[in-house]
Symmetry: C2
Subunit: 252 residues, 2 copies
């Protein structure tokens, strides 16, 4: 398959590199910023373009749109004459944004990507949706080249997935930050708590989170809860979080 990618951000970069590693031909990388387009294009042996009209639509079997959510509609409208398969990579945007096309779908990698952090794309869950079974098959074929975890997920389910990811990723990361600041304020190295963070994430790979809940709240250890609340007096916002989450955990 020959693929062009619209975008040069974190998601575009990780997908492009994974496809290149799977010997998929990348025709064009588009970014309105030539330098960004060129940098990614160089990595994946593609041609950088800065105008959507420059994309080699004749030879592309698929075009992936990996731009900011609110730019997807605009990009798609400029490619409305492209009759090949077009798919966006967003978790939060429904498939309908592409419904002016003949062949369209969604190719959503459920992972948190950073530019400077390599990861094994083979473990990234790819959530696919398409306007018909033939296009779904094409996306599946492409997805299976780069990942062991390929799921069929409709737009409604993808919305839930995106919300669940906030609870599973964004909020825990914020709480890691609170822990880090508490330690720093008491001259303790953040490193000391990192194995605990890893093991907490590891545990739920083989158990339901509710089954492995630990800590003073689930034990109804009022003495420790009160002590902790006392220690948070100077951080009223963290205290509010502490009380709210502890209450929820107590309810089970």
């Amino acid at each position: 398959m020959r693929v062009s990618i619209i975008g040069s951000g974190n998601v575009a970069t990780h997908i492009a590199k994974a496809l290149r590693n799977a010997n998929v031909t990348l025709l064009n990388i588009w970014s309105y910023n030539l330098e960004n387009a060129q940098m990614l294009a160089n990595k994946v042996d593609a041609i950088a373009v800065t105008k959507l009209s420059q994309i080699n639509t004749d030879d592309s079997d698929a075009v992936l749109i990996s731009v900011k959510d609110d730019a997807i509609a605009t990009v798609a409208s400029q490619l409305v004459n492209y009759s090949g398969l077009i798919a966006h990579t967003s978790g939060a945007v429904t498939i309908d944004v592409l419904s002016n096309h003949k062949n369209y779908g969604v190719f959503y990698p459920l992972q948190t990507f950073s530019k400077h952090k390599e990861l094994d794309f083979g473990n990234v869950p790819l959530c696919l949706e398409a306007n018909d079974t033939s296009n779904l098959d094409s996306l599946k074929q492409l997805a299976k080249l780069i990942s062991k975890s390929v799921y069929e997920v409709d737009s409604e389910q993808r919305k839930t997935l995106h919300l669940a990811a906030v609870f599973a990723c964004n909020f825990p990361n914020y709480l890691y930050g609170v822990a880090q600041q508490l330690l720093a304020q008491n001259h303790l190295d953040f490193d000391i708590i990192k194995p605990l963070i890893i093991e907490t994430a590891n545990k739920i790979q083989t158990a339901l989170p509710m089954e492995v809940q630990t800590g003073p709240a689930v034990r109804n250890d009022e003495q420790t809860l009160k002590k902790h609340e006392g220690m948070l007096q100077e951080h009223p916002e963290w205290l509010t979080i502490y009380k709210l989450l502890s209450e929820q955990i107590k309810k089970g």
Copy 2:
């Protein structure tokens, strides 16, 4: 060194097995329940006892107390004639609970342990405190036999560590549970989000959490925040958590 362990729960079990693997002689395992004491004793070639007076204090170089927090004082008071090194393994209890002894300290493993989940004890941070430098050295010697991560942490710091662990482990685990339930309610497999949970924990091994915060709140993506809040109308408690944590993340 020859060590006796008072307790047969998760922490006692993991410490005892780690010591045995490091060729430390385990003399006695105490539990008021003989079956529990025997089960662990069998694993580590020790003698099970159910009375504290049966512990071979003459030959023990150290006794580790690994019982529930509010039982430590009682256990210690019954061993007040033991003049060797005695240490408890709790994160939440100060060293003073053992101050009626001559030689005492704390041997606190900062990790979440489950009975049925093996883990590499070599990566478990051991937080040590003692009443004098000679006892601290003895605890260090013991700790370094079983872990690469040995820290000196006083009682005040250990209180902070214990509080930070709630934010870094107990609360994230609760939020994994919310994600799991959201997925289940929409017929989505929890497996789909597990790689994201692992990668979120991996990321902060080499970066500060605040530097790698992602999601709609940190982007000030009001449209997505409103959409998510709408989806949580039927779960008012999760909605409260969503709003509170999103507000905090927005403040940075």
